[in-house]
């Protein structure tokens, strides 16, 4: 207990630590959030309206009125689509089928095709998402006044990157990175600091058991990481409208499991690192970079060479990101992610065992 109190004092009295712990997460999430969302303002689109009737004109108007889109070109045939994309400033082409309004009236259903330039996957995804919500919005409005409800079928196509992986939902990735950073890096640094200042010598000579030292080190960071996870979710939800469709309890439980994993990694690193500097470098290169690059957060794993894909499989964040994406975005329950959870669990158990075992009761 006393150890935990002492550890909290270390954290709270060191502005540098505080900035890393609470500043970086907020800055990162805002940065990622705004870098992605600002690009959708006034995005250039082209319209290929094959029916030019009342409904299509209304929808087109709604698209421009939203402020997200600017119509750069009105196309007349399918042949012009490719050309429009190649000019570069057209990000999406909206195609209304022939007899759009008529189909709506007669069959209660009409088709719109959205083709997006997915060279910039994030933007493409958002644009398509916005366009379809505007169209959906139109449908909802109309349905209020008409007795027979109708629907517009939206056919989305991503050009140039058909199998677009949604990194639009950046929150899972940010969470994985932040939790790795805070939990692993900060614990490993704080243990290395004790070694550097010589206080570890005294702790070792005391009757404290390794488990007590580890628990004392880990508990404060566990609590702070949890606070961080919650604040990331909150910022995601309130600032960027990232939903949590699944069970919040399950999400938090999985998050705790991941924090535990990161903490045990941190302790493991500290058993190797003798100085704070070394602990930091090791956490950066061994944890941070792989979390960013090899977890499928920034770059889709499917596009990597096979040998790199194999390496990705042993990256714990990868599994965590899959889990929270599923819970947050698809709203799936434990039934569908038990495999990933089990993998995380095995990782955690492995590293806890390893670090307790490697934790030296002597100096050498």
């Amino acid at each position: 207990m006393n150890f935990i109190q002492k550890e909290f004092r270390h954290i709270l009295r060191d502005t540098r630590t505080l900035i890393i712990m609470f500043g970086i997460p907020i800055v990162q999430i805002l940065l990622f959030g705004y870098v992605i969302s600002t690009e959708v303002k006034n995005a250039g689109i082209a319209i290929l309206d094959l029916s030019k009737d009342q409904a299509t004109i209304k929808i087109t108007e709604k698209l421009t009125a939203s402020g997200y889109f600017k119509i750069i070109k009105n196309l007349n045939s399918f042949d012009e689509i490719e050309e429009a994309f190649k000019q570069g400033n057209v990000k999406e082409v909206v195609i209304f089928e022939i007899n759009f309004d008529k189909n709506l009236e007669n069959f209660n259903s009409a088709n719109v095709q959205l083709i997006a330039d997915a060279t910039d996957a994030n933007t493409a995804n958002i644009i398509v998402f916005y366009t379809s919500s505007i169209i959906q919005n139109y449908v909802n409005e109309q349905n209020k006044t008409i007795k027979m409800p109708f629907e517009i079928k939206i056919d989305e196509r991503m050009l140039y990157n058909e199998e677009l992986k949604s990194s639009f939902m950046f929150v899972p990735g940010i969470m994985a990175i932040i939790l790795m950073l805070i939990s692993a890096m900060m614990t490993s640094i704080s243990i290395a600091r004790e070694k550097e200042l010589g206080t570890m010598e005294v702790l070792l000579v005391s009757p404290l058991k390794p488990v007590q030292i580890i628990l004392g080190k880990v508990t404060p960071y566990f609590i702070l990481s949890l606070i961080n996870a919650v604040s990331i979710l909150a910022v995601g939800y309130f600032v960027f409208d990232v939903p949590v469709t699944g069970s919040l309890i399950l999400l938090m439980a999985e998050t705790m499991l991941f924090i535990l994993l990161a903490l045990s990694l941190g302790i493991f690193i500290s058993t190797v690192a003798k100085t704070q500097q070394f602990a930091m470098m090791l956490s950066m290169f061994a944890l941070m970079l792989p979390t960013m690059l090899l977890s499928g957060f920034v770059f889709p794993i499917e596009n990597m060479p096979v040998w790199l894909q194999v390496i990705c499989q042993v990256m714990p964040p990868k599994w965590f990101i899959i889990i929270i994406r599923n819970i947050m975005l698809k709203g799936t329950g434990l039934l569908y992610i038990w495999k990933e959870t089990l993998i995380l669990f095995i990782f955690t158990a492995f590293f806890i065992l390893l670090s307790v075992k490697k934790f030296k009761i002597r100096l050498e």
Binding site: N2, K6, G198, L204
Partner: protein, 312 residues
């Protein structure tokens, strides 16, 4: 004779037998043996790199010796390391205080680590702690060297250890604090605590009950400071002149010269002959054109003995 030995064994609290330790290719200490008695202030005296810290780390169970054995009372330092850790007070070379905790918080923390309350053993540190009590709300990192040293001693004592191990406690501390510190140690002896101190300062040796002189991982001699001095066989001469550098050179080239060491202002000189002729030395120096020559016989101190033992 036998009775005498038994009696000694009863008093002995720490027995170090033939310990050696090698780091990679460097032999840090070899074949170190000594005993320390209950309530004794035992000093390890030697320059930096002599192996003092290595010995202390072995005694505090922080590292394992390559061979040899150490017993405290009847506890084996290797097998019973957990018990040893409960009764050891250790103050490492770098004062291991938490710089970002206050004086009070440091003390409370170290008490808690050993499962005691500060009040329980306060009487033991009272006199020392009173020096720093006015600053108890100050961060340890903002204390002066002398105060840090006192706080570290309090932290090492708060669980009432039976053996206190202090690694170079006076290094980097001003002269007044050093004096105060040794006075505190003298008082602690009366609490029946076995105290081991290491120091590179030879003048501090005289303040110990017994000292072990250590050089390059080997013990040169173990005895009381008085006995060590009385073993000094030469006549020690202090020589001064206007030009100190030239004086050292000339004395070294003197035909009867045994040892010549600079010692602050003066030069400590010993002679190869049984009977050192002071007059002859003066004459020799006058011939060498030295001015303001001052030659006198003095009593050797521990450092002279150390230098002499090193030569052997």
């Amino acid at each position: 004779m036998f009775l005498n030995i038994d009696y000694q064994n009863l008093m002995t609290s720490l027995r170090v037998k033939n310990i050696s330790k090698k780091y990679d290719k460097v032999q840090a200490i070899s074949d170190i043996s000594f005993n320390a008695e209950k309530g004794e202030l035992f000093g390890l005296i030697g320059p930096d790199g002599a192996g003092k810290t290595t010995i202390f780390r072995i005694l505090t169970t922080l590292i394992l010796p390559d061979n040899g054995e150490v017993f405290f009372e009847n506890l084996d330092i290797i097998k019973d390391f957990k018990k040893i850790r409960q009764i050891t007070g250790y103050m490492p070379g770098k004062y291991s205080l938490y710089q970002d905790l206050t004086v009070e918080e440091n003390l409370n923390f170290f008490a808690a680590v050993f499962g005691v309350k500060v009040e329980d053993n306060y009487y033991l540190i009272k006199e020392i702690y009173e020096h720093i009590a006015p600053f108890k709300k100050r961060l340890a990192g903002k204390l002066s060297g002398g105060m840090k040293q006192k706080l570290a001693l309090c932290c090492a004592l708060i669980h009432k250890p039976q053996i206190l191990i202090l690694d170079e406690p006076t290094t980097g501390v001003d002269a007044v604090s050093r004096k105060e510190f040794w006075e505190m140690l003298q008082k602690l002896k009366t609490q029946n605590i076995t105290i081991l101190v290491s120091t590179p300062y030879m003048d501090e040796a005289a303040l110990c009950n017994r000292v072990a002189l250590i050089q390059k991982g080997k013990i040169l001699d173990i005895d009381t400071p008085e006995n060590i001095i009385s073993k000094f066989q030469h006549k020690l001469i202090s020589v001064k002149s206007f030009d100190k550098q030239k004086l050292i050179k000339d004395l070294r080239s003197y035909e009867f010269s045994n040892s010549v060491f600079a010692f602050g202002e003066s030069i400590h000189y010993t002679d190869k002959r049984q009977k050192t002729d002071v007059k002859e030395i003066v004459e020799y120096l006058i011939n060498k054109n030295h001015k303001e020559i001052k030659v006198e016989e003095i009593k050797p101190n521990i450092e002279d003995c150390f230098m002499d033992l090193m030569k052997k």
